[in-house]
């Protein structure tokens, strides 16, 4: 069913460039029950990849496995040439991965500024870079407020800012549009592309909203029951077909 890349071991977008994130034959499990059954994924520098799939198909599990929150059973994860498969979460962050989880998971009792500062840990710097506040002015306004008292959309911006504070090479976003109104979703699409353009990082975003994926992504994959069952560049995507994967 894979449509583009003939061999999964060649980055499909720009052949010849080194993948910034490469995942090969990734299996992971909660205890005994295996959820990911051999994922192969290559992300080029500066590329935005959307991973789509219905509820319970393994999107969050993929993200958590990449971050080292769910243990890897077998397979390898490489970030910019470094094998991170055996590393703990914090060490993966130091190697260039950053994570915006489903449901935001900001530290609710800490202030907005403190939340962003937690992301600075691996950089060793102490001051929140000004450009984060430029990108999310609302966070500057509320920097003394407790994170738990922000609205859902503001928390989403905070979670993105916190992730960007660690200066990542690859940003992982798990369903950023969940529970967010359509106008803000469009705004977020613009923000993500701006982040990519300004910082040159790659983004892997999991999604259920096809229009959002079509808006931001260079490439769209569909995950079903822990395997990737469809892959296409945005340019030649068959929307109807992807939509069929997403309908129940």
């Amino acid at each position: 069913m894979l449509q583009t890349s003939a061999s999964p071991h060649v980055p499909p977008v720009v052949p010849g460039t080194q993948a910034i994130l490469s995942i090969s034959d990734l299996h992971s499990a909660y205890g005994q029950s295996e959820v990911l059954h051999g994922i192969d994924l290559y992300v080029a520098p500066g590329e935005i990849v959307a991973v789509m799939g219905r509820n319970g198909m393994g999107k969050s599990t993929l993200m958590k496995t990449l971050m080292g929150i769910v243990p890897t059973k077998s397979g390898t994860i490489t970030v910019d040439g470094t094998d991170v498969t055996a590393l703990k979460s914090h060490a993966r962050v130091a190697k260039g991965l950053a994570y915006v989880p489903q449901g935001r998971m900001i530290f609710s009792t800490m202030t907005v500024q403190e939340n962003i500062e937690t992301g600075l840990t691996v950089t060793g710097s102490r001051k929140v870079p000004q450009d984060l506040y430029t990108m999310f002015p609302v966070l500057l306004e509320m920097k003394g407020r407790r994170g738990g008292n922000l609205s859902g959309g503001q928390q989403q911006q905070l979670a993105i800012a916190r992730a960007l504070a660690s200066n990542p090479k690859v940003l992982l976003l798990d369903e950023p549009t969940e529970g967010i109104q359509p106008s803000i979703i469009r705004e977020m699409g613009r923000t993500l592309k701006k982040i990519r353009d300004e910082r040159g990082l790659s983004i892997v975003v999991s999604e259920q909203v096809l229009s959002f994926a079509m808006d931001v992504a260079d490439r769209v994959l569909v995950i079903e029951n822990g395997s990737i069952v469809h892959e296409s560049l945005r340019a030649d995507i068959d929307e109807a077909q992807v939509a069929r994967f997403l309908s129940v």
Partner: protein
């Protein structure tokens, strides 16, 4: 029970018992701070916390003997050295225990309860073997002895003032560490959401170990202070651990301020009642009051007002 005293007597009694209560309060606060930090951070209820305190007390005792024998000229300053060493000794043992035992038992609260309880028995026996079963007391330097008269009928002990000052400094230090430093922010992040803290780049294992060491180290300082109000024996820590749990629960486990307020109210009630009733009756009344209040406010005295 107040009938036999004149009003002036009563107020003096209240002031002086209140002051005695402040020393108890200091020991409680230091103990409870450590316990609350460890519980809040790792969900570990450290049943051996009293033994970490007693380690600090023994270190203070050793220090006092050492200075008496070898450095009598510096005896006046030994207490400061003793407190620093007590902190280091209990802190180091705490980190060792975390590394050897506790970290294997995270997410298993009952097992940590049993394991730390076992540890407390082991430590008690070790103290008995090393220091003997008899209680030991420390010699205070002369400047710490005696008391300052405030009015005709009220006087306050100097060592009490000293303990209170030390407690204040340490409590402020902990507050600054927790709420103003980057390490404190890391502790709070791990407390808030452990997997997420790892995923933003915080080395949660290192934070755990340091926090456990810090909590135990503060218990060591509490042990130093404790030598001024009681004598140190292998099982002395047991007497304090229950009260300390009570304070932590009563204060609301997540709040530093709650811990302090609860230590204050419990030690004051206890100490004032003790003058008029027997010690155990005072304890019963204090416990009843606490249980009553907790039934009305199960979350403890203080909670953070925030959506979670």
């Amino acid at each position: 029970m107040f009938g036999d005293y004149s009003l002036a007597d009563l107020s003096s009694i209240f002031v002086m018992q209140g002051f005695a209560g402040l020393i108890l309060f200091s020991v409680y606060v230091l103990m409870a701070l450590g316990l609350a930090i460890i519980f809040g951070q790792m969900g570990v209820i450290n049943m051996a916390h009293g033994e970490f305190m007693i380690l600090g007390a023994y270190v203070t005792y050793l220090c006092s003997t050492f200075f008496q024998t070898y450095l009598p000229s510096l005896f006046g300053a030994y207490f400061f050295v003793a407190m620093a060493l007590a902190f280091l000794a209990s802190g180091a043992m705490g980190m060792l225990v975390e590394w050897a035992l506790i970290r294997h038992l995270y997410k298993r609260p009952l097992d940590t309860l049993l394991a730390t309880w076992g540890l407390s028995l082991i430590l008690q026996q070790a103290y008995r073997t090393i220091f003997g079963p008899r209680e030991v007391g420390v010699e205070l330097p002369s400047w710490m002895m005696g008391s300052i008269p405030v009015t005709d009928s009220i006087e306050v002990q100097i060592n009490g003032l000293f303990v209170i000052a030390v407690t204040t400094v340490i409590t402020l230090g902990v507050a600054v560490l927790m709420y103003r430093s980057r390490f404190g922010a890391q502790i709070r992040a791990v407390m808030g959401n452990r997997p997420m803290a790892g995923a933003v780049g915080i080395d949660t294992e290192k934070v755990d170990r340091t926090t456990f060491g810090l909590g135990c180290g503060i218990a060591g300082i509490a042990g130093s202070a404790f030598t001024m109000i009681g004598s140190t024996g292998p099982t002395s820590g047991q007497l304090y651990i229950v009260d300390t749990f009570l304070i932590v629960v009563f204060g609301g486990a997540a709040s530093l301020l709650g811990t302090i307020a609860s230590a204050f109210s419990i030690s004051q009630t206890q100490s004032t009642l003790e003058f008029f009733l027997s010690g155990s009756m005072a304890k019963v009344l204090t416990l009843l009051a606490v249980v009553g209040i907790l039934m009305l406010r199960p979350q403890g005295l203080f909670t953070l007002k925030v959506r979670r």
